[in-house]
Symmetry: C2
């Protein structure tokens, strides 16, 4: 098989997400493939450590709610049905792999800009999107605004 059947785009919901989506939509349409979007929220405990005594569950909820709104906005713009909009919490590469495997995706698309974007692909080798992926990975170079 030289074309794709299901393309999953991992988005950080930054302003560059649109550039990535435009390319993803083109590629999915070329292959007549299903297009899904995913946003992975990294757990706050991981990000800020657990030594600050505060209730983070409400912040986590707010982040989740905002992400859902932002992802839906992109979904609406690019004609992606709600059932193909995924949000999960965890380590981005791991979550993307699991989602891709569960959804039988054959192409994962992620953005890449400088160090931040690269970390999603490269990360530590064992956690990178590429490593451990059983499908193709496209890194779309985004121009920072």
């Amino acid at each position: 098989m030289s074309s794709y059947t299901h393309v999953i785009v991992g988005l950080d919901l930054s302003s560059e997400s649109k550039q990535i989506m435009e390319k993803a939509k083109f590629l999915a349409e070329s292959s007549n493939a299903k297009l899904s979007v995913a946003h992975i929220i990294e757990p706050l405990l991981f990000t800020y450590g657990g030594d600050i005594p505060m209730d983070i569950s409400s912040i986590q909820d707010q982040i989740h709610t905002q992400a859902k709104i932002d992802l839906q906005k992109i979904g609406d713009e690019f004609g992606i049905e709600q059932e193909n909009q995924h949000i999960s919490i965890g380590q981005p590469a791991t979550e993307l792999h699991e989602l891709a495997a569960k959804e039988k995706a054959d192409l994962i698309i992620v953005g890449s800009h400088g160090r931040h974007g690269l970390s999603l692909i490269l990360g530590s080798t064992s956690n990178s999107v590429l490593h451990g992926s059983h499908c193709d990975v496209l890194a779309v170079r985004v121009n920072q605004g």
Copy 2:
């Protein structure tokens, strides 16, 4: 621009090259893009060190000649004209970047299978195909025969 204009495929000329080429050809045709192939020969001095007193220039020549034959075979099979078949000697990621920049390519495709394939993409961060690339990079997961 959501489609591509010039796709360069970096091939190691192994038996998996055909799988990568089939995908590359499909993507290039979808975008109505030019398709080029490249094989980078790593210098023998780098690979084996320089402490063995032997004339390596003839070996290097033989490798170059064989690579040219193999690349041309693939080129013929996928309808790629000789002027779009590139062979150079150096560090694969660096050479691919330079070629992509020179040829104004907007997508580099490389194969990825286990550690060997990954090293081309990941390598050390500074030497990876992704790092330092000004265009998109697609890692095609190949099934080893």
